[in-house]
Symmetry: C2
Subunit: 384 residues, 2 copies
């Protein structure tokens, strides 16, 4: 018997992945910064107006590049949400930053914009926002705070491909284009995937030259290949942040079908929402998309009224061979950080840690399967 | 006209790369630590007796994991050769180490074992050796020095797959199994490739648990999936060092043909050597393999009698559509480091920077092509 008839995630193929991977191999260049790396970077620059894009081995790597570019050193403070993936924190901790965790919003797991300013000190260097589930943080407020205190903004846009902030003039601004730097993920659970993979977006021009150097292991190799210098050497610290062009080939095949993928995912999201709204449950809340954000249908989550309900719901779905999962655990309470944390209780971060549940979400999830899942949730709602 | 009839490098396919990449995709798990990651790691553990292996996105990443495991901090000193790739240095510099560069051997670009001990201070934490061209550093001497001064040994084995140190008892000890930690590369120019890619070997048991945590972004996720803990969380600093299982699938296809690949490469190396020895040139020296090392035929290089001869030789081959290249530039003289360097002149490091030339080397290089290259070198030798 298939124990997970409906898994939480299934990687999706558009069809040309193998073709492009093979083409990369036969082109004779499968290390980083090959044809498909450049095509993928150009895709993002053209479509979203990102100033400069560099593919990386992971979103984690992109965040580490951000920490190096911002010259994060021992004692610098970085403000970030506690309800996020460990990489948001690790990237800055690895370079000696003191992590200043803050809370999520009441209506959404994203950072609470009104819970930042009192944490700023003379040592604060950056605010790292996470567009949780692809839903925008209120970026006008963040930009205002950052400008006032002369801070850098890093957008952790791991979930946020093809999502937008809607400003007061009703303009749609692509997420990832607002911060000085932004990081995207192409991990197998994301809308667009390459197994592991990520991208750094460099919007502030002053970081552009150095970003390329750090990416190329601290060398000016890219300038050399463009003929701008006559030899290349070690000019800065850096690492190997480039993915193989095989991985970039896989990614580019996905990017060519971005609109189609987004349409499928929005349709899945809307079906979930419609079915679950009909239940009108007092055991869980549906996700809320604030008026200043679009919905890129990265995930579908419920927020249960208690951790007990959440755990029972996951258990009930599991008994019925549907894999639902919880998500982050507040980082300020983690084994690594709990003794270092000096701040106040982060109510909503803990609430989402205890109560949020993510439902299966992948492009091949069929309508009958969604209906089956939402019927199970209805049964659960009635039974417990 | 084909400008580079004989390129310096061509990635080689064994045949099953696409099959395994596809299998990884269809298995539904293309992020890190999937089936092919585990098969590849087991291959190395079984074949070479490495205690624990973890695939990484690059050899650079493996070296960074080493720096994190050794808990390298601001002010720690690390001794390493100046004649090496930037990543050997960057990995430790990124974590605040002071880099103490030393010289190469007279007979070989590897670290001069007799030029280490006087550099050791109370701050020295590790010796990083590089098995240049897959030729062993004299590891008995290194181990003796490290034991005497209580230092860690990291083997940068980027070039050194399937190569061995031959000790006094005539035992062949696999390179990568001697240091506390070792790093391998599967970059497209190596004997075994995956585009970009690397591996950390953890020989010292005390690093094994933490290595897995750092690899998994500072979480104890691996223990969770083995059922050793009932939930996983943030327990340490870390990063995303895992390659996609697509990349691991490519790698595993190569590993299945390691013996065949090594046989081809040794044959190419021997043909180069035989042809070039016949020239008996006074313009260049042939590579020397010390009695304490095997030859894994990673590359074929010449050491010219002057930088002028080297540059002319590269130019002559280029005119004839053969791509030969120089290699490292002494790191202590790099734009990044020259003002930081306080040590003495590193004569042999500079000599190899100025005079070493690498000839085309890839598995599909035919005997007629090798003969053509060595004939061109003979012509050059006679003409200039």
């Amino acid at each position: 018997m298939d124990q997970k008839r409906i898994p939480f995630n299934k990687p999706y193929l558009t069809g040309k992945e193998a073709h492009y991977m093979y083409d990369a191999v036969y082109s004779g260049k499968i290390s980083g910064n090959g044809k498909y790396t450049q095509k993928s970077q150009a895709f993002f620059e053209d479509r979203y107006g990102f100033k400069k894009c560099l593919l990386t081995s992971s979103c984690t790597d992109a965040l580490e590049m951000a920490a190096i570019l911002l010259d994060i050193r021992q004692g610098d403070e970085v403000i970030l949400p506690s309800y996020t993936f460990v990489s948001t924190a690790n990237a800055f901790a690895l370079h000696g930053a003191n992590l200043i965790f803050t809370d999520s919003r009441e209506d959404h797991p994203g950072i609470d914009e009104n819970n930042i300013e009192h944490l700023i000190t003379s040592k604060t260097k950056a605010i790292v926002v996470v567009h949780y589930a692809g839903v925008a943080v209120d970026m006008d407020k963040i930009v205002q705070i950052a400008n006032k205190h002369n801070l850098y903004i890093v957008e952790d846009a791991a979930h946020a491909i093809d999502s937008f902030y809607i400003n007061k003039k009703n303009e749609k601004i692509p997420l990832g284009s607002i911060g000085h730097l932004a990081a995207f993920s192409f991990h197998e659970t994301k809308n667009i995937i390459s197994g592991e993979g990520g991208m750094l977006v460099i919007n502030d021009e002053k970081f552009q030259r150095r970003s390329e150097i750090i990416w190329e292991k601290g060398t000016n190799r890219s300038e050399f290949f463009r003929g701008e210098v006559d030899k290349y050497g070690w000019v800065d610290i850096g690492s190997s942040f480039l993915p193989s062009d095989i991985v970039a080939g896989f990614l580019f095949a996905q990017l060519e079908h971005l609109d189609e993928i987004q349409e499928i995912r929005r349709s899945i999201w809307n079906t979930y929402y419609k079915n679950l709204a009909e239940i009108n449950s007092c055991k869980f809340d549906l996700p809320r998309i604030p008026e200043y954000s679009t919905n890129n249908a990265h995930m579908f989550f419920l927020v249960c009224k208690s951790s007990e309900i959440r755990d029972k719901l996951i258990g009930y779905l599991k008994e019925n061979h549907v894999q639902a999962v919880f998500h982050y655990l507040s980082l300020h309470k983690s084994p690594y950080f709990k003794n270092k944390y000096k701040g106040k209780k982060l109510y909503y971060s803990d609430l989402y840690s205890d109560r949020l549940v993510r439902l299966p979400f992948y492009n091949e999830l069929s309508y009958p399967e969604i209906n089956e899942i939402t019927d199970l949730i209805r049964e659960f709602d009635e039974k417990y």
